[in-house]
Amino acid sequence: MSTANEIRQTFFQECDELLEALDDGLCEIDEGIADESFDLETVNAVFRAVHSIKGGAAAFGLDALVHFAHQFETVLDVMRAGELTPNDDVMKVCHRAADHLSDLVAAGRDNEIVEGELGTEIAAKLIGLVAGSECAEPGNDTESETFVFVPLGLPIPTNTDNGNQELTLSRFCVRFTPSAGLYASGNDTSLLFRELSELGELEVTVETDRLPDLKNIDPGESYLSWVVILLTEESEQSLREVFEFVDGLCELQISLDLDATMHEGPSDATKDVVDEARASTGVPEEESTSPTMVSASSPDSGTERAKPATGPKATVRVNLDLVDRLINMVGELVINQAVLTQCIKDAGLLDRGELSTSLAEFRNLARDIQESVMAIRAQSVKPLFQRMARIVREASELSGKDADFLTEGETTEVDKTIIERLVDPLTHMIRNAVDHGLEPPEQRRAAGKAETGHVKLTAAHRSGRVLIEVSDDGAGINREKVFQIAVEKGLIPGDSILKDAEIDNLLFLPGFSTAKEVSNLSGRGVGMDVVRSAIQKLGGRVSIFSQPGKGTTMSISLPLTLAVLDGMVVDVAGQTMVVPITAIVETLRPKAEDIHPLGADNQVVSVRNKLVPVIDLGVVFGHRRTPAPISDMVLLLVESDGSESWALAVDQIFDQRQVVIKGLETNYGHVPGVAAATILGDGNIALIIDPEETAHRSGPVADVGDRARLEEV
């Protein structure tokens, strides 16, 4: 059972790769349309991707998926035969089909059923495409025939051969020699023959020449081969389809009418090339002598089987848990190294030249290993961007606004977890960009812009962080309206005087939604505040920049990884704690005259004429009962995204360093004001402070709702 599950899991993982390749290919064809450079190999790659998904899906009984993939495949097949020239309309349908295919894959994975309507609609469009050109390969269409509606277009009579083939009985000779691997993977030859017998009259002869004596027999080995004579109306293609799932596990020779010249190796490549040859020449019977023969061992077919249509980069699929464990252990190694260094230092041996040199080398090695291991978790943002392309397509369809989607920096690598958690916020931002950002076509024309709007998604590395930007060339933020709505909703007092940037930031307030009507796309009132808290949870910040009439840009700045952060190691009433450096604006040692008591036990410090509330971390975390005199302490000025600031009072600053983040949630639970824990050089644990949460908990304006949302992991 678990093996079956594993295989299933592998299939879906492969599907993800294949869908990515599919999307890639379609985009490439898209680009090809413009300059009319039509690369057949790309279409082939796309075809193979769909074909592989279909093949796998059939093995797992995902009928809906198989069915749809088959229709899609038929269209692509016609396309690669050159009978359907891809244009914008065709590609639109193909993109939709690819989207739907990925839906079906997801549904298959979650054992769900996708609502029929959309699928039927797209399927009908696909069939329409085929009908519009030519119905290719009748033998291939056994499944779609069951529900195909009669094609309206007249078939262009270029390929008379198909017609002939359907009517005449052909006599095929199939020589089938299974390898041991065929049996090992659970295939059964009798089932194959049974399937063949459905195609026509069958005569099977078994060849036992290679069968050794009983005492020499190896039960795992394959000794038998078969010669099958099949009298059928079907094309050779249909015959080969029967053997589709034992592809590569057997030697298969199919020849017409006992023809002596046979081609070997039933690999995909052979088949594909042969198909092409046939489609272009229209004489399938000649393929055996045609120069397009490709042997199964050719490198082309080898790579293709492993990973269709993705670049030459070899990859390994590894369980994420294993990687995490490795990261953990490497983290330990680094700590251990620090402890060792300390011990040697304490023993007074550090002056010995050789020892200190190798110790330094050890340290560098440990760091290098740590960095490399961290890099394993990094992934390119490409799949994420591809998902977003789909969101744009859907959003532009629903909103009736044409939108072009541009991406930049797809190869930027970010921690896998970050990518996963970015999906929802980015989806929201992209939808917003199309729905709210872009103006309707008439308005765009009036403003002298092209009717088709542009939504751009970029990713780049900036000083140790990842910067992701979503921009549109729409009307920009209507600040007056935003201000008015914020006042109406009671989010700000009516007489507030706000700067442009401050008005833009109002969009991030909970419960703010500018859409007058709740549209299908956005405007449910759970808007940008959720986006912001999701980004903040990842240790990132989101900001907004808008130019009236020119468009809006939203930037997300994220850490490269969730596994480490730069922290300031501080002393809080005898306890060592870590404050994330990203939160700290500045550190200061206050003068006594800058500190003013406010109320019973609150104090504020004046920093360049601005009064900032002081929070004694020792008191907040219960490490001391009564506040220590602030003037003896160091203040860390922290700022929230809402431009609130606080001064966190600590006893002293020890150090500034990169720390490995260790979750508290698994073994314990959430600790208020604490983001996570880390292990220090001496092996002890220090808690990492969440400055905003700490401040909110101690401050008078505890934003409980917001906190609660942030706390759920």
């Binding site: 698994t666 073994n667 600790v671």
Partner: protein, 156 residues
């Protein structure tokens, strides 16, 4: 899961230890390791019986003072105290005890229901008692002595 399997076969192995002046035991399948006391990093806002967290080869493991948890006197941990690291589901927790005594094998039928006389605070954490050679062993229901999830932790 391991627990139920053992219960089915009837045979159980238990690690016995001393907390305060009393003998307790837990199922050996729960115990991952036993180690000496090391000072823990204090967790703010934690219930009094949570002494803090320690570094167990790279994972952050909370330490529960079993004595305080069972309603006995809070311990003052020193070098002679021992931490029993237990794994319950996905959670790894350390329990501070006075000393680990030995490992005993018993039949599930030997576990008697907790007598009514026991105080409520202690009884809630005990699934039964075993009487052997003049000793009474209290079998701890480990799930109940875990530090509760964050809501409870925050309240405490």
């Amino acid at each position: 899961m391991a627990e139920t399997q053992i219960a089915d076969s009837g045979l159980r192995e238990l690690v016995t230890f001393r907390v305060g002046q009393q003998d307790f035991c837990i199922d050996i399948m729960m115990v991952r390791e036993i180690r000496g006391w090391t000072p823990a990093t204090i967790l703010p806002h934690a219930p009094p019986f949570v002494l803090g967290v320690i570094n167990l080869r790279g994972s952050v493991v909370p330490i529960v003072d079993l004595s305080a948890r069972l309603g006995l006197r809070p311990s003052e941990p020193d070098d002679r105290h021992v931490i029993v690291i237990a794994v319950v589901g996905t959670q790894t927790v350390g329990f501070l005890v006075n000393a680990v005594a030995d490992i005993i094998g018993i039949n599930q039928s030997e576990v008697q229901p907790t007598p009514d006389v026991a105080s409520d605070a202690t009884r809630a954490f005990i699934e039964g008692v075993i009487v052997t050679e003049e000793r009474m062993l209290r079998v701890i229901d480990i799930k109940t002595v875990l530090p509760k999830s964050m809501e409870t932790a925050e309240a405490g």
